[in-house]
Symmetry: D3
Amino acid sequence: MSQPKYIHALDVPVPERKDLDAGTQKYFDICDEKLGMVPNVLASYSFDPAKLRAFSDMYGDLMLGDSGLSKLEREMIAVVVSSVNKCFYCLTAHGAAVRELSGDPILGELMVMNYRAAELSPKQKTMLDFANKLTETPAKIEEEDRKTLRDIGWSDRDIWDISATVAFFNMSNRMSVAIDMMPNEAYHSQAR
Amino acid sequence: MSQPKYIHALDVPVPERKDLDAGTQKYFDICDEKLGMVPNVLASYSFDPAKLRAFSDMYGDLMLGDSGLSKLEREMIAVVVSSVNKCFYCLTAHGAAVRELSGDPILGELMVMNYRAAELSPKQKTMLDFANKLTETPAKIEEEDRKTLRDIGWSDRDIWDISATVAFFNMSNRMSVAIDMMPNEAYHSQAR
Amino acid sequence: MSQPKYIHALDVPVPERKDLDAGTQKYFDICDEKLGMVPNVLASYSFDPAKLRAFSDMYGDLMLGDSGLSKLEREMIAVVVSSVNKCFYCLTAHGAAVRELSGDPILGELMVMNYRAAELSPKQKTMLDFANKLTETPAKIEEEDRKTLRDIGWSDRDIWDISATVAFFNMSNRMSVAIDMMPNEAYHSQAR
Amino acid sequence: MSQPKYIHALDVPVPERKDLDAGTQKYFDICDEKLGMVPNVLASYSFDPAKLRAFSDMYGDLMLGDSGLSKLEREMIAVVVSSVNKCFYCLTAHGAAVRELSGDPILGELMVMNYRAAELSPKQKTMLDFANKLTETPAKIEEEDRKTLRDIGWSDRDIWDISATVAFFNMSNRMSVAIDMMPNEAYHSQAR
Amino acid sequence: MSQPKYIHALDVPVPERKDLDAGTQKYFDICDEKLGMVPNVLASYSFDPAKLRAFSDMYGDLMLGDSGLSKLEREMIAVVVSSVNKCFYCLTAHGAAVRELSGDPILGELMVMNYRAAELSPKQKTMLDFANKLTETPAKIEEEDRKTLRDIGWSDRDIWDISATVAFFNMSNRMSVAIDMMPNEAYHSQAR
Amino acid sequence: MSQPKYIHALDVPVPERKDLDAGTQKYFDICDEKLGMVPNVLASYSFDPAKLRAFSDMYGDLMLGDSGLSKLEREMIAVVVSSVNKCFYCLTAHGAAVRELSGDPILGELMVMNYRAAELSPKQKTMLDFANKLTETPAKIEEEDRKTLRDIGWSDRDIWDISATVAFFNMSNRMSVAIDMMPNEAYHSQAR
């Protein structure tokens, strides 16, 4: 089994769990309980509680908060964006989430490999086409693109959330590849 | 004078200032005091205090917190990333910041137009080359790229901050272009 | 579970097994025995025995014949090429082959997602860099690229096989995406 | 006159004609008779009879077998694909074939240089647009692209052959550029 | 204030004004009078009067001569082309011209940063879309693109001028970046 | 024989020869005498004597004037640039010029198809690599690129001429493709 090289490539050490402040320890205990692990991205950020909190607050609001998009749809966007950027960490972690939330292992593979091969509703297909374009060529987004989303049934408030999710993973992908962050091994076999 | 079309293109209305919660009102008062305006990006997020706080916490930590990078260097990264993505909002707001912080209006123009035409220290040039590559082709970042940063004098902790800044503006650019966010007019004439 | 839409999108029907000529029937029986299935690519070609034989002869020589490259290395090339071209069929079928031949499920994921995140020998890394470049920008291959392969230890005869494998999957990927060929479902859970 | 550097750049020697097995000798005699030469691609493969036969069987079926596409149309596809990939060997050999089969030297140049400048029937133009897209961005082929071909009059069986031809030259181009294969000089002056 | 490194990077010295021939001296006197400076591009070419005259004749005819395009529209094209090519010299000089001619400083910034964020008439938007495509992917221009210009109200004679302007700045941009030509500082503060 | 569709696609009529002013008539007579034809590009510009003169003056200085580059080298640059931009007119006309000036028909084909397959001196290869980069990605030219030219033996004055030639054909290609200009048929069979 190929061993992870490390959690990430920088000499910015991941603190030992016992050395973390009480709040972070509690947060990580909840991760253990709910996910069966502390995701390496959170471990990576834990050297600086302000950075960890900023990241996890934004992530929580975006991926777990109220939205016109289902949690699965948000995870589908996460994977499609990560597929353009070829981010090993995010494809692994969020590919697992798509498998888990959909109960459909093949859907996870389709999002990782090429969402255009999936059988999706026109509404979801349009959402992912927008995610793909906003990732690949943000300079070329125009009113026409927003109109296409509206015409297929997304509200303006939904477009905010679609955009914010695409934007977030364009950040997260770049942070992960910049430091060569490795996903927890457990993701690979989840929900296959 | 070309009038801004709107603050952004979505029907997700910007609340009136008086309708905001006390915390946000106070935050915006500080903006007025320090910047002479409430940046439109903050006004845009103010319809949802959780989103506004997540964004401003991450922004504040990244751009204003302690770092091996000067504030000017972080703004230079912001503009170079935004130049790749051709984000009108961020080029305007952070171009002004480069002019302001450097006291050098032409440096701001160089970052907006093509950082390769600027006369920079090899260390800053290497930083911006990395920012450019991580923005354009994140999939192709390799250990070699981190090594190049280290060899010119950036510490691993600095590489974290460079990466996080590049990543953040790849998010922020995409959110802005997705909703066609317009910058406050005042930026354009600042520090010319 | 997302049902495959079809074997492929064209109205070029896959013949029933019993209607195939004796030679093809025997070949498919061997597939069943060795692989537990007839790969959909072979089923697709079976409407025309000449096309099926041409494809399977070339495939067999290339992927199963004698070579300075191990079978695993040839499968790694197949997946890296397919990852550039985002071919759902080949990523699925050859991703499974990498997992199977290596006994390392994560290696399969790495090839699908981004081979640059894998810990490989310099010789294999150089081979995959060449595969990636020959796939993305064939017009830009020069003597320098062959020299890089030689310098790391590949013989000229090996370079033939590397090139032929890259070339083959650039064909096979395009055939599969052109007709939206769906992989057999069984691949997805293999060797996880 | 610029002398060909070699048949190809690898130290995988082309056997002398007299050392080939009887079958290959006979095949090459037929080439001499019909084409006035043994194409260098066949000479290159002749070091290994299995590879030669696999290549020539597939080529023969595809380019010379029954099809809803004329031989000229298949050669036009060959050249358009090779123009994207800038393959000197295939542009030379198949450019000559277009000139020969059409009796129109300028048509050959148009396919080499830019098929968009040619005056073609809408049906052929659509075929070449598909060839171009499947070559440049295979990941982006969708049902819409197949529909466009059908709407202009291509049958599903024709789409198979168009796709297979495009796919084949994406293979053949990459093999040729990978080993810097040089075309027989005679092609250059043919059918001018 | 960041000092210009030089007028350009080549050891092809700019002659002293007093050493120029009488015609050039007179031309530069007129520049001083009308523009308040001799643009560095003209100073650069002055080492060879034939080159200077060829350049200034073409420029004068194109940008100042009769045309169905207003001078402002021609300057808008100049900046949009230069924005694709990221030419520091031309973005600076022609960005100033857009600000000057329009009396709208923000319009200049929009052309530099991303013309898609500007509120333009459909006719001007179409003109700039064509300028952008002809700059980025000239190989893909087709009759359809000319038709789009005609349909929105441009005459064939206008299309000549639009094309000639786009073409000219694709030349001028490349000359400037090739020799790292620096714009006169005065442009930066003009018409802000 | 495929008939040229027209001289160009715009309704900007080419004047009859007898209606041209005396100077242009004389110039065209010289073309007839020296080239055996009036190149269609000149015919196209003849509707406006000022445009014709500006174009032909610049062309003459650049391609026929004194330079450290041979006329053949300037034509090689013309074809390599036109190959990137896939300009049918310029590939045809200047491909013929390379054949003519070199007495080597294959060299002309190599420049059209892929200059990387030609056997060139390192000095000429470096010149064409620069031409290719300045055409494809002008924004990425840096001092390093000029240094590479100097190190292989080009003077700064030569770099001016190389750059000016590359720049000119990036203009000329775009004008030609924008209006779909057709080359004179005679070029195709010249110097084969």
